[in-house]
Symmetry: C3
C-alpha cells in the first residue's frame, strides 16, 4: 500500500515537472514571434507573427493527427503491463509480441490520441511543444516573401511527417539511432545501440534544430532572396529589422523558455533514488554557461572581424543575441552529458560556427535568411551533435541512460576527448548525415513543387508594398503614416 | 510517523504546484496589458496600461478586504478538524454547527485574512490571481474614453463584491450552484447538487469570463462609442490599434498564462493514488487544442466571410489572436471533463461564437468594444458553460469531483452528447441566466450612476487629444513628434 | 530503504522547486532589459539592451570563476558527511576541522565549480541568477552615456567580488551577519548571531538591492548627468524614455520574476514535516501585497504632490510602475517574517521612500539616474532591512531559521513593533552601514579610476548622436527616419 503511494507520488511529481517544463517550451513560441517580428521590416510584422501563431495551431492539429503516432506511437511492454512471469512472457513472444522491423523507423499507434492512457498525455503535450518549436524555425528564413498559403502547407508537412520520423529515430526506445534502445526494443535489428552507443542528443539538436535549420535552408534557397537583398554585383545589402527591442525581447524569452526545453527533457525530477534531480540541475547550469559563452564569443569575434576588416569597433547587439541562441542550440544536444567547462567551450564554438555559417550562407551560397535561422539552428545544431560525441563524460552518460545493456560494468560509450573511443562521435556523424539527407531530401523537392505551382512566393508588387497591407488587413502600425503610408502610395 | 510525512509531503507538493500555477495566472496581467496597449491608439497607451496594473493592485486590496471572505470565507469542518468520532460529531450539531442558509450565497469569514491558517494562504494567492484576471477584462471594453477615477471605483466594486459572490456560488463547497457540495455542506438546502449535477465549470467560464465579459458589455454600452467609431449613418469605422506586435505579444503571454489558469485549477498534482496528475495533463492538452482550433476556425471563418462579402482574401492577424483567446475561454470551463476531440470542437465553436458575437455587438447593438472583450469573454464563456453540459465525459467528471454523494454507483451526471441526460446542461443554463442577471443587474446601474454624476467619461477634447497627454504626464512615445505632437497642437 | 527513498524524493522535489524559481529570477533579466529599453531615448535602445544581456553573460562567467566561491565556497560538515559519532567528530576537531576566522568574511572553495557535488549545482544556478539580477541594476543608472567597455569591467568587478562577499556575510552559514549561523559555523568568532539575531534579510535587500542600488549611485554620480538633463540654472529638465509600453512590460516581467526571487528563496517547498510550504505561500502573498501597496502609495503620493504644487491631477504611469518595484524591493528582505497587514505597510512606505529618495537624488544631489534605480533599489532596499528589524513576527522567524541556538525556548529575536527588543533592528542598521560603506567604498574609487583613464564616458558628440549609431551598428529602429535620421545628420 505504502509503496504504491510512493510510486504514484513519484510519477505525479514527474508529470507536474514535465508539464511545467512544457509550458516554458511553449513560451518559446512567444520568443520566436518577437524575434521574427523585430527582425523584419515593419510592413511585414503582422505576416510573420501570424506564421508564428499558426506554427502552434497547425502544429497542434498535425501532432494530433499523425505527429505523435509517427514519433512515439510505440507498443506497450506486455510483460510488465500484465505482470507476466518470465515463462508466460516468453510463451507470449516476449515483451513486444508481433514487433515489426519497421518500428525502428516510424511509430504506428495512437493516431488522433486513440488508445492512449491519460497518464501519458503529459508526454504528448511536452513533445508537441518540441514539434512546434522545430517547425517555427523556418518562419524566419522565409520571411517577407513567402505566401501565407504555402506556409500552412509547409507547417503541416513538417509536423505531420518530417519531424516526427526524426524524433522517432533519435528518442523513441525503438528508434534505430536511439540511445534509449534495449535488448527487447531492438530485437528485430542486428544491433542494440547504433555504433555501440546510439546518438547522444539529449534535448534535440537533431530532431528540432537540424530539421528546422535545414528546412530553413531548403526554403530560403528555393524561395530566393528578398528584392534588394543583393545588389547588381551580387553583394549583400543590409536589410535590418524594424525593431531591435522586440528582437532582443525574443532572445530573452527564448533563453527563458530553454530552461523548459533542456532541463525539462529529463522528463522527471525524481525516482526516489540517486538524487536524479542532479541531472536537471547540471543541465540548467550547462544551458546557462553555453548561452553566455556563445553570446560573448560571437560578440568578440564579430567585433574583431569588423575591426580588422573595416577598422571600426562595433558591438553588435543583434549578432550577440543570435550568438546567445547559437550557444543555446549548441548545448542543447550534449547538455546532460558534459562538464561545465566543456559547456563553456561548446557554447563558444557554437558562436563561432554561427558566425562562419552566417557568412558562408550570405556571401558564398547567396542565401537570404532574414533571421539567420540556418546558421543558428542548423550550424550550431550540427556542432552540438558532434560536441556530444566529443565531450560526453562517462559518469554523466550513465546517469541519463542507465547501464549499457549486455555488459559487465555497464559503462556506456563516452566522448573521445574525455578518453573514450570514437563510437559516440561516429553515431553523431551518421545521425548528421542521415537527418541532413532526410530533411533536405524531402523539403527541397517539396518547396520546389510549391514554387512550380506558383504558390510559394508573393508577387514583387506585394513584396514591395509589404504583406501586411496586401494580405493581413493593414499595417501593424497603422498610425505611423510616414512609415507605412508611402509604401502604399507607390503601388496605389 | 511515516504516513504523516507522506501526507505533509503531498500537501506541500500541491501547495507548490498551486503557487507556481498562480504565478502564471498573475502573468496574464502582463498579457492583458500588452494586448490592450497594442489595441488602442498610441495616445492612450499609458492610460490603458495603468488600468491594467491597477487591476492587480486594487484587486489585491479588495481581495484582502472582502473578496476572499465573500468567495471562500467558509466554516471549517469541526468533526475532522477536532478528530471527533461520529457520536461526538452528531452531538455537536454535525461537521458545520450553526451553518446558516445564507452560506450558499455568500461567504462570511476571514475578512482581511483574519483567522486564516498560513497553510491556506496559497489558495488565497491563487484565487486572487483569478479575481484580478476577471476584473481586468473590462479595461479593454472601456478603453480610450473612460475616466481613470471611475475605473478605480469599478475595480473595487467588482473585486470587493460582484466577482466573489459568483465564485462562491460556483466553486465554494457551500455554493448553491457548486458541484463540490456534499451532503454536509448542503445541509441547509433542499438539494445537494443543483439539478442533481451542479454546474461543471472547472477553471472559470462563469465567475471569470462571464462576469468580466458582461461587466464589459454594461460598461461599453453605458459609456457609448468612441468619437468617430460610427459614421453619421451609424456604420462602424475602423479604428485599429497602434501596435499589432504588442497585441499579439499579449495573446502569446495570455496563452502561456492560461497553463496556470486551467491545469492549475486542479489545485493539486498528486494525492498519492490514482495518478491524479492525469487530470492536469488532460487539461493542458485540451487547453492547447482548444486554443489552436479556436484560432484556426476564426481565421478561416473570417477569411471566408470577407471573401464572400468583399471578394478579397485576408488572413487577419488580430482576429486570429482573438480567436485563440476565444478558444481558450471556451475550453476553460469544460477543460477537465472532455475528451480531446471534444476540445477541438469546443474551441472551434468558441471561435465561431466570438465571430458572430463580435458582429452582433458592433453592427446590431452598436456597442464599441475596442478589444472585442465582450465577444471573446462573455460570448465564448457562455458557450463554454453550455459545452460543459454537453460534452462532459462520465469517467472524467468523476475523476474531478469524486463519486456522486448518496448513490450506489457514484456516477455523476454527464453531457447529453456523451449519452447522459440533460441535468448538467440544465445546471449550466441556470448558471448562465443567473450570473448574467447578477452581473448586468448590478454593473449596469452602477455604470449609469457613474455616468449620471459625470465621473464616467472624459470630455471630447480630452478624448481627441488622448488621455496620456491630458492625464498621465505625457505621451507613451514622446519622441515620435509626428504622431503625438499634432494631437497636442490641435488642442493647445 | 524506504526512509532513504523519502529523503531522496524530498531533496529532488526541493531541487526542482529551486530550479524553477531560478528560471523566474533569470527572467527578470528580460524585465530589466525592457524596463531599461523603454526608459531611454530611442537612440540608445540597443546599447542598454546589450548591457542587460551582458549582465547575464559576463555575470555567468564571473560567477563561475570566483563569484560562487567567495559567496558560498564553504567547508562541508565532516561529522555528518562521514557519519562520525560524537567522539570521532570531536577527535577530528569538530564538524569543520581547520576552520579559519576569515571564513566569516569570504568563502574560499569551489572556484570554477571545482570539487562541487552535482547535487549542489541547483544552488549554484539559483544564486547565479541573484548575482546577475543585482549586477543589472546599475545598467539603468549609467544609461545613455557610459562607455560599453567600462561597463564590461564594472560587470566583472561586481560579480567577481563585490556582490559575493556581501552575499557571504548575509546568507552563508559562516557569514558574520548571517542569521543562518550555528554554534559550529561560528566557532571561530566570539558570538554566534550578530546582535543575538543576525540580519533578517530573506530574499536580498542587502546583497542584491543595496549593492546594486549603491553601485548605481556611485556610477551615476561619478559619470555625471546626461547632456541637457539640467538647465543652465541647475534645474532638472524632463528626459522621458522613448517607449512607455516597453517600460511597463518590464515592470510586469519583473513582478512575475519576483515570484521566483522571493518565494524561491525558501530553497525548498517541503521537509515532510510542519507544512513547510506555508512559508513560500506567505511569501507569495506578502510579495503581492507589497507590490500593490507600493504602487498605489506612489501613485497617490505623486498625484497629491503634483496637485498641491502644480494644481493638476496627473496619474503617472512610469512612477506607478517604479512604485510597484519599490514595494517589491521593500518586501524582499522581510517577506518571510511579516504578517500580511505589515506587508501592506512595508510596501506603502517603500513607495514613499522611493518618492522621497528620487526627489533628493535629482534635486539635491543633482544625480541623473535615468531609471530611478538608486531610489528604487537602494532607497526601498534600506527601508526593507529596517522593516525586517521592526515587523518580524516571532513565530515566522522561527519557521524560517529554526530555534535559536543555545536557548531553552529557542525563540529568536523579533521586531520591536511586534513586541520584541531592538536586536534585529540593530543588526539591520549595522548591515546597512557596513554594506553601504563596502559598496560605495569600492565602487566609487573604481568608477573614478575608469573616469581618470578616460574609459568611463562617451564623447559629447557620441552622446548627442546616440550610442547605437556610433557603437552598435545602427539604430534599433532603422526605418523611422524622422526619429533616427536627424540625429545622424547633425553629426554627419
Amino acid at each position: 500500500f505504502k509503496d504504491d503511494n510512493l510510486a504514484s507520488l513519484t510519477s505525479d511529481i514527474n508529470t507536474g515537472w514535465t508539464l511545467q517544463s512544457g509550458y516554458l517550451v511553449f513560451f518559446m513560441q512567444a520568443g520566436f514571434a518577437m524575434l521574427c517580428a523585430g527582425s523584419v521590416r515593419a510592413k511585414n510584422a503582422k505576416n510573420i507573427i501570424l506564421l508564428n501563431i499558426l506554427d502552434a495551431c497547425f502544429g497542434c492539429c498535425a501532432w494530433y493527427l499523425t505527429g505523435w503516432a509517427f514519433a512515439y506511437g510505440d507498443p506497450t511492454n506486455q510483460c510488465s503491463a500484465n505482470s507476466w512471469d518470465e515463462a508466460t512472457c516468453a510463451a507470449n513472444g516476449g515483451p513486444f509480441p508481433g514487433l515489426s522491423a519497421s518500428q525502428a523507423f516510424i511509430g504506428n499507434r495512437n493516431f488522433v490520441m486513440s488508445n492512449m492512457d491519460r497518464t501519458t498525455y503529459y508526454l504528448w503535450f511536452f513533445q508537441f511543444t518540441f514539434a512546434a518549436t522545430g517547425a517555427t524555425i523556418v518562419s524566419g528564413a522565409v520571411a517577407e516573401r513567402c505566401r501565407f498559403e504555402s506556409y500552412m502547407l509547409y507547417e503541416l508537412m513538417i509536423v505531420l511527417f518530417v519531424y516526427p520520423v526524426v524524433a522517432h529515430w533519435v528518442w523513441s526506445p525503438f528508434g534505430w539511432l536511439s540511445a534509449w534502445r534495449t535488448v527487447d526494443t531492438a530485437s528485430k535489428q542486428s544491433y542494440v545501440l547504433f555504433a555501440g552507443s546510439g546518438v547522444y542528443d539529449f534535448a534535440g539538436d537533431a530532431a528540432v534544430h537540424m530539421v528546422g535549420g535545414l528546412a530553413s535552408l531548403a526554403g530560403a534557397w528555393v524561395l530566393g532572396p528578398r528584392i534588394g537583398r543583393f545588389d547588381a554585383a551580387g553583394n549583400p545589402v543590409d536589410m535590418p529589422g524594424h525593431n531591435a527591442s522586440l528582437t532582443l525581447l525574443g532572445v530573452f524569452l527564448l533563453w527563458f523558455g530553454w530552461y523548459g526545453f533542456n532541463p525539462g527533457s529529463t522528463l522527471a525530477i525524481t525516482y526516489g533514488i540517486d538524487s536524479f534531480s542532479k541531472v536537471a540541475a547540471a543541465v540548467a547550469v550547462n544551458t546557462t554557461i553555453g548561452a553566455a559563452s556563445g553570446c560573448l564569443a560571437t560578440l568578440f569575434i564579430t567585433m574583431a572581424y569588423q575591426y580588422f576588416t573595416l577598422g571600426v569597433v562595433v558591438w553588435d547587439l543583434i549578432i550577440a543575441g543570435n550568438g546567445a541562441l547559437a550557444g543555446l542550440v549548441a548545448i542543447t544536444g550534449p547538455c546532460a552529458f558534459v562538464q561545465s567547462w566543456a559547456a563553456f567551450i561548446i557554447g563558444a564554438i557554437g558562436g563561432l560556427v554561427y558566425f562562419i555559417a552566417s557568412k558562408v550562407n550570405l556571401h558564398l551560397l547567396k542565401v537570404d535568411d532574414p533571421l539567420d535561422a540556418i546558421a543558428v539552428h542548423a550550424g550550431a545544431g550540427i556542432w552540438g551533435l558532434i560536441a556530444g560525441g566529443a565531450f560526453a563524460a562517462p559518469g554523466m552518460v550513465n546517469n541519463v541512460y542507465g547501464p549499457l545493456p549486455g555488459t559487465e560494468d555497464g559503462q556506456r560509450k563516452y566522448g573521445f576527448i574525455m578518453g573514450g573511443d570514437g563510437s559516440a562521435l561516429a553515431a553523431a556523424l551518421v545521425c548528421i548525415i542521415v537527418v541532413g539527407a532526410w530533411t533536405l531530401g524531402i523539403m527541397t523537392p517539396f518547396f520546389m513543387l510549391l514554387k512550380k505551382v506558383g504558390l510559394f512566393r508573393v508577387s514583387p508588387e506585394v513584396e514591395a508594398q509589404g504583406l501586411d497591407v496586401s494580405h493581413h488587413g493593414g499595417s501593424a502600425y497603422p498610425h505611423e503614416e510616414g512609415k507605412n503610408g508611402k509604401a502604399l502610395e507607390s503601388f496605389g
